[in-house]
Amino acid sequence: MTTSLSQYRFDWVMPEIVVCAAAFLVLLTGVYSRHKRSRPIAGWLTLGGLGIAIAWTWYLRGVGGDAFFGAYRVDAFATFVKFAILIGAAITTLLSMDYWQNRAVQAPEYYALLLFATVGMMLLTGANDLMTVFLAIEIMSFSVYILVASRRDDQSATEAAMKCFMLGAFSSGVLVYGLALVYGATGTLLLKDIAAAHAAAAITEPLLFKIGMGMILVGFIFKVAGVPFHMWAPDVYQGAPAPVTGLMAVGVKAAAFAAAIRVFSVAFGAQAVDWQPVIWWVAVLTILVGNFLAITQDNLKRMLAYSSIAHAGYLLIGLTTGYKVSGSAILFYLVAYTFMNLGAFGVLTAVSRGDDELENIPQWAGIAQKHPALAAVMALCMFSLAGIPPTAGFFAKFYLFYSAIQAGDVLIVLIAVLGSLVSLYYYLRVIVVMYMQEPAGDAVFGGLSNPARVGVLASVAGILYLGLWPRGLLAWAESAIHTLF
């Protein structure tokens, strides 16, 4: 078989290539810029690269098909999630510029790693071969391990990096062994060929196949921090720099869910009776554990970590009721979650200064008097995370739960609504502390710098837009999910 370069379809992966090139350019600025004044250029270059990638993804939104001989796929589904990831990465960059400026560090390699993590996430959305899935997860995870450790002289950041690395590498080990077993049972790593092997009854070792599928599922549950593999998330979220935590909660989760949907709908769609009950129980446990443990948290980042575990549980409902009914609701939820979570982390970034990260909720007493705008944004994000209209979070939950009812699974919706009621307590507690308590006196809060102001405003705009006019995005999500089957 003769192949030509055009068959690889490099033109379809140009957004990924642009982000990669921007990362290398950012690394070069670290070599060539000696002056402290020129350091913020790394952040602006990162934003430029992400902007070009967003524009190019928009340009490519109509095209699609198998690239790299089936190992990678560009379709409306991947494009949709790529938008969410790129916008999340851009907001994270804006927040990072604020975060590092206040700590008098402008490390270009931080932005380069942020871009490499973004490339990994983008590749994960289109990965159409188990090996591509594994490599994309590793590109993303390796960058995130280092990003978590980027405050090198901070004990808690280092500890978080160690835990993130060890459990992340462990889950990758489980995933890759599952991949090997599936290869053994089917003789292929391509998702659609795995499904074809099953349809042709060519699987000689069904037990091997099922164990492999189970291990891949465990690997994904680790990545999205589902119970019982959630233990790493609170520690890592607490110790990592606030913008990195935001990226982990938003981008990593969106990419992992996109890959899980593709793998389990394309390759293991015929085995749905085997994995759906497992995910059902994982979803129930994740919702309950995430929400009930969040109540007792005093540390805001730790509370948001448990809240993100709970949100992963809501998203898992979408997987268990089937992507055909819930797929568009999952996609809508991922976008809404991106805006509301990054808004909260944006305020957290703006408020914290220097060594005192001001992460404990009691420290936020009376912040509404000193910084009414910041407090209002935080309150909006908390309302949205709790799912109160007219915010993005309300419609995200509404569509997801509605699709589960359509699929006939009322019990899990009842559990999820119960979990949401519990979540009201800890989200509203933040608002009560901010608005109804007197300032502690000597508390010094920071303010927003210009880049962070843009990032936070973008999040607020997203939350309100999706809360008031959700139909447009939902229609797009519905058309996107149809490219999967």
Binding site: E138, T158, V176, L179, A180, G239, Q297
Partner: protein, 100 residues
């Protein structure tokens, strides 16, 4: 006669040894080595299956996994060195500052 089942059994044992090492041992370096054993268990299985199916794609995957494993060691060691500089210990048990 050594069949694919023998290789599969060996790789399964290797994987369990690696997983047990990660979960039981408390020295970060030993944990890192155990993580590598897990990846190599997958490599052995892939090579054996590749031979069994008479295709090379499993062996190509092994090269990619080896590259990933090398990157993993580099990052893991860097993090362990950093932890040692700050705390003068690499016992995983000693990392308990992140609590509510």
């Amino acid at each position: 006669m050594i069949t694919p089942h023998h290789f599969l059994a060996l790789s399964g044992v290797l994987f369990l040894v690696g997983a047990a090492g990660v979960l039981v041992r408390r020295n970060a370096l030993i944990v890192l080595m155990s993580l590598e054993i897990m990846l190599n268990a997958a490599n052995l299985a892939l090579v054996a299956f590749s031979r069994m199916h008479g295709a090379v794609d499993g062996q190509v995957a092994v090269f990619l996994i080896m590259a990933v494993a090398a990157g993993e060691v580099a990052i893991g060691l860097a993090i362990i060195v950093n932890v040692y500089r700050l705390r003068h210990t690499i016992q995983v048990d000693a990392l308990t500052s992140l609590k509510n």
